[in-house]
């Protein structure tokens, strides 16, 4: 199989990640933060080391502000529902995944907030202007994606973060397609809260995600329960990370995620991004020569993550992805849980076929895909 659905989850995982997952069941099999015996303490220490790695990678101010969650969507739910004030306004973009849009829509339909979606402009100045125009005195939160999961657009996060800072409101960033792929510096980017999956650009296993806080803003927790401390008190502890981590952590997942972070650091984000961008640039320039292929934006590696959406003539995107699947090529057709971005790009009625690469893809994979797309376009595969 040629796997080109890395925006959904990266595959394969590095050998060191798989090995860490296996070993963690043997070496770190006790519950962290619960017991005082050796294996529990060793497991706690190992979990703490992953917090440190993530805090360093994203330049968050303290390891204890790295909060482990079930996934990126879980992190975004905590952040959005925990930060948005009742009767306030929330600002987001038109490129948001349902993991942002559905919590916002839920809060809106519950009568708790109103929200607006700023359009990405033709350049960063225009995008920032669009965000600024929708800010009001009632705005209690800005939340947006770092990079689109469908079309790859990178939003000017640092400048949007500055807007939030000027208005003294928290800035939540969905880094589902950016963590491990772009250099993210929470402090310089003025990001109060970074939500990320462990299993995409950080090459961890499916499961753990993280909500990382930086600065003074702290949301209210959504989940209450046992944390291993203050157990005689019925009130939830107030200090992160435990205040957000009731119940047992996904220990094998988190430990393996730590190995994923080490893998990314050992190769280097810059190196990975360069390689992946070259593959998508090659794909883009080759597809541009094919009359039947519809592309929706220029691929400029400085403004996009390595994700490309396409259609072939009037063939339904689901049929194209199915035909490619029969050629043993894994891509994703449909709406990618993101009707907002499809509306913005005019593909709401058709959807697209999305191709996304990882460190483990090579030019040969792209050539095989191009050959199969040619055959589909010429109706040689039905």
């Amino acid at each position: 199989m040629i796997y080109l659905d890395n925006a959904a989850t990266t595959y394969p995982k590095p050998a060191r990640v798989v090995e860490a997952f296996r070993r963690s069941a043997h070496l770190y099999g006790a519950n962290p933060g619960r017991g005082g015996y050796e294996m529990s303490m060793k497991t706690s220490l190992k979990i703490y080391s992953v917090r440190k790695k993530l805090a360093e990678l994203f330049n968050a101010d303290e390891p204890e502000k790295v909060i482990f969650t079930s996934n990126c969507t879980d992190a975004l739910n905590i952040a959005i529902r925990g930060f948005a004030k009742d009767s306030s306004h929330v600002l987001t973009s038109r490129l948001e995944h349902n993991s942002v849009m559905r919590p916002l829509e839920h809060l809106k339909k519950s009568g708790r907030i109103v929200y607006d979606c700023a359009s990405p402009g033709e350049n960063d100045d225009k995008t920032v202007e669009n965000f600024r125009a929708l800010l009001s005195k009632r705005t209690s939160l800005i939340v947006c994606t770092y990079a689109s999961n469908v079309f790859g657009d990178i939003l000017p996060i640092r400048r949007i973060g500055l807007l939030a800072k000027e208005h003294s409101i928290p800035f939540v960033v969905d880094a589902a397609q950016a963590a491990g792929i772009l250099n993210i510096d929470m402090e310089k980017d003025n990001v109060s809260c970074l939500c990320l999956p462990g299993h995409k650009g950080l090459y961890g296993p499916m499961g753990p995600g993280a909500m990382i806080l930086c600065g003074d803003f702290v949301p209210k927790p959504l989940t209450y329960g046992g944390t291993g401390t203050f157990s005689k008190l019925l009130d939830q502890p107030e200090e992160p990370p435990e205040s957000f981590e009731s119940g047992t952590l996904n220990v094998p997942g988190i430990i393996s995620l730590g190995e994923g972070v080490e893998f990314v650091r050992s190769v280097g984000i810059k190196t990975m991004r360069y390689r992946e961008n070259r593959l998508i640039e090659y794909l883009y320039s080759s597809l541009r020569e094919m009359d039947q292929v519809k592309l929706y934006n220029e691929f400029d590696g400085s403004r996009r993550v390595p994700v490309l959406s396409l259609n072939i003539g009037d063939l339904p995107c689901e049929q194209v992805s199915d035909l490619l699947g029969r050629e043993k090529i894994a891509v994703r057709g449909g709406f990618h849980c993101n009707p907002s971005a499809h509306k913005h790009y005019g593909t709401y009625d058709s959807g697209t076929v999305r191709v996304s690469v990882s460190h483990f893809n090579c030019k040969k994979d792209i050539d095989f895909l191009l050959n199969s797309i040619k055959k589909i376009a010429k109706r040689q595969i039905i």
Partner: protein, 83 residues
């Protein structure tokens, strides 16, 4: 982190296992010999289970240092007075 040594003179009670790990590493890096254990008398305390750091000397200085690095210290004192 040295866990075996239970004969330390002072305890520093912290807010969670994460703060215990952080505090332990910070103190060790600053020359303290530190032991990390569950709270000794959780049953008789108001708050219940938790973690403490144990050191031999300069407890007030250690507490000031930990607080300056945002470690959530919730109590400290002589081990003989521990509750």
């Amino acid at each position: 982190m040295k866990r075996g040594d239970i004969l330390k003179k002072y305890y520093i009670k912290v807010g969670s296992v994460t703060h215990a790990m952080k505090g332990s590493q910070l103190l060790s890096a600053n020359g303290y010999k530190v032991a990390l254990r569950r709270n000794l008398k959780a049953h008789s305390s108001d708050e219940g289970c938790g973690y403490s750091l144990y050191i031999d000397s300069n407890v007030e200085e250690a507490v000031r240092f930990l607080k300056s690095r945002n470690v959530n210290v919730i109590g400290y004192g002589d081990v003989s007075d521990y509750r």
